[in-house]
């Protein structure tokens, strides 16, 4: 516990920008967890009497074409964005990390094949890979979350995470403790999981936070295109499409605030990832 506190103090001292972004991230997490308590309205409640009303006392950020409260939809939207962002970044980075570790540990032909595959996957823009996965799968909804959408967002991070983790694992492999483990007769998988994986946690954590930002942006883009989260669920990208596209000249608040929410969230996670990188490993460049 004391170690955790002193680590935190060190982070605050050396990364002032990191702490600002951490606060922004925590606000977002708070909104996502306590959405029921924070939001004044039901995000899906339609109220035609209050259609397209401007920001005011009752609706601080106005309402949309269905009279739904925009602030409440933004707060619940944080839940959607974070759930999808964190899950897909976790899946993508973990899968990529596992491939990178195995590739570095086994070397030789395994490494060669894995690297060629990764190079090929890296030649596609992120959204193109995600769209291919969207097209391949149908909708599998488990506990209100579209599994296929999460996979679509996770897949493009796999080759990127694999490359970074492989580079870090290559130097770990040369460490004497890996030789010692091998001399002690441990199995390959035990060496990979117990001796190598813990030593690439720093780049893994950096990747994980950085790709949450990427995932939030990608989810917003897909939802905007009508290929991500579906109405009436509140999602920031979705709030910029559909009826917003028709009415935003009369009601600019409909597009102003969701766009700001996306930008701020991505900005905060990017900044936090940068601070984490500088703090954990000043020499590491991703």
């Amino acid at each position: 516990m004391r170690r955790a506190v002193s680590l935190f103090v060190d982070f605050v001292r050396s990364q002032p920008l990191g702490i600002v972004s951490l606060v922004a991230v925590l606000v977002m997490v708070g909104c996502a967890i306590f959405a029921e308590q924070v939001a004044a309205f039901d995000p899906e409640a339609i109220d035609f009497a209050a259609m397209l009303s401007a920001p005011g006392a009752e609706h601080p950020l106005g309402t949309d074409a269905f009279g739904r409260d925009i602030l409440s939809r933004l707060i619940y939207g944080a839940r959607t964005a974070l759930a999808i962002g964190v899950l897909s970044s976790f899946i993508g980075c973990t899968l990529g990390g596992a491939i990178g570790l195995a590739s570095a540990f086994f070397g030789g032909k395994v490494d060669l094949v894995a690297q060629r595959l990764i190079d090929m996957l890296l030649s596609f823009p992120i959204i193109v890979l995600a769209l291919v996965v969207v097209a391949l799968g149908g909708k599998f909804i488990i506990a209100g979350i579209d599994v296929n959408l999460i996979l679509a967002i996770a897949v493009p991070t796999v080759p990127r995470a694999a490359r970074v983790i492989r580079a870090a694992a290559l130097s770990v492999r040369e460490m004497p403790y890996v030789d010692a483990a091998r001399a002690a007769g441990y199995s390959d998988w035990r060496i990979i999981l117990r001796h190598m994986a813990p030593n690439v946690t720093a780049p893994y954590l950096i990747l994980f936070t950085a790709y949450i930002a990427q995932a939030i942006l990608l989810e917003a883009s897909l939802s905007f295109l009508g290929l991500g989260v579906a109405e009436p669920k509140p999602a920031w990208g979705l709030m910029l499409s559909g009826t917003s596209a028709n009415f935003y000249q009369e009601a600019p608040w409909m597009i102003l605030f969701p766009g700001l929410a996306i930008s701020l969230a991505v900005f905060a996670f990017n900044l936090f990832g940068d601070a984490l990188r500088d703090w954990l490993d000043p020499k590491l460049k991703t």
């Binding site: 090929m120 992120i126 942006l217 910029l240 597009i255 991505v266």
Partner: protein, 317 residues
């Protein structure tokens, strides 16, 4: 130099072949039967007789290696097959849209390069000045602001300030150059912002790195004018990594266009892609994925050639 370009070109072909195999495998084997999947998604049912008929028509009943061969031979001849949705030849569908998307992409690149290189360099030369903070702020914001939202704000701004909105129908460059530019400059700016931000950050960090090199100190020590130190010694070396980023981001612009074309109601490649995905048009998706891979390969080749021009060491190797 020609030999160098030739080697680079030869290296590009196996990579493209690999991507073709990967694309084919992704789209044909993973989802099971694409025809049934599409019919199920479109109409909710897939009668076996109809599926068999469609498979026959699209040549999907042949063994996979034969299908792959057909596809490759077709592509070499410029024939990408027919769209599963519109039934029209894919090369025709892409042909009428490619010009527009490429024009926006080239305009965005020009904007990005013209803005990013001077800004990134100045930011590096006057490190920790007010200008540097400003550049760092707008570039890091550029990575966070979604291009489609920026596009919507532009349309909104144009409407409220000038009561003018970009036209809905496309004006080709040759019939009306001014109208064409007035229409396409906005999407180019919307996607160009992120592009410029990425390039400016790269230029800034590589100029800072180069300025620490020994040869810069040597040049200064022997009394070379500071202006020449910057332009001849520093920039020439610092621009190499920037060129890589410019090339790769150009290839990835198609990704930015996927969403931005939607906002500006432009009928380009990005829009075609979104429609193909929404309609499970697998032959079209396959062709478009291949197209992005070819664009990436060409951009890479261009980067390699630029390296050859700027760095004589690479040519003689």
């Amino acid at each position: 130099m020609l030999k160098y370009i030739g080697t680079r070109f030869a290296l590009m072909l196996p990579a493209l072949f690999g991507v073709a195999v990967l694309t084919f495998v992704m789209l044909r084997i993973l989802p099971g039967d694409v025809v049934a999947a599409r019919m199920l998604a479109e109409t909710g049912q897939a009668p076996p007789a109809l599926v068999a008929q469609e498979r026959e028509r699209l040549g999907l009943n042949k063994p996979l290696p034969a299908q792959f061969l057909d596809w490759m031979v077709g592509m070499v001849k410029g024939d990408f097959g027919v769209s599963m949705w519109t039934n029209r030849p894919i090369s025709e569908e892409i042909g009428i849209r490619l010009g527009l998307s490429l024009q926006v992409a080239v305009m965005a690149t020009l904007i990005a390069v013209l803005v990013a290189i001077p800004l990134g360099t100045l930011s590096a030369l006057f490190r920790n000045s007010l200008l540097d903070y400003f550049v760092r702020l707008i570039t890091i914001a550029g990575l966070a602001v979604p291009s489609f939202w920026l596009g919507m704000l532009m349309i909104l701004g144009l409407l409220t300030l000038f009561r003018w909105s970009p036209p809905v129908t496309y004006t080709p460059f040759l019939t009306d150059p001014v109208g064409n530019m007035a229409q396409l400059i906005w999407p180019a700016l919307a996607v160009g912002y992120r592009y410029a931000a990425v390039v400016a950050r790269m230029v800034r960090s590589s100029v800072i790195e180069v300025l620490r090199e020994d040869y810069i100190r040597t040049a200064r020590a022997k009394g070379v004018f500071e202006r020449l130190v910057i332009s001849r010694h520093a920039l020439r070396n610092a621009l190499l990594p920037a060129i890589t980023v410019i090339g790769l981001e150009f290839a990835f612009l198609i990704g930015g266009l996927v969403v931005t074309e939607q906002v500006f109601n432009l009928n380009g490649i990005g829009r075609l892609f979104v429609e193909a995905v929404a309609r499970h048009d697998f032959t079209m998706i396959q062709a478009l994925v291949m197209l992005t891979a070819v664009l990436f390969a060409i951009a890479n080749l261009a980067v390699d050639i630029c390296y050859g021009i700027f760095d004589p060491r690479l040519r003689t190797k």
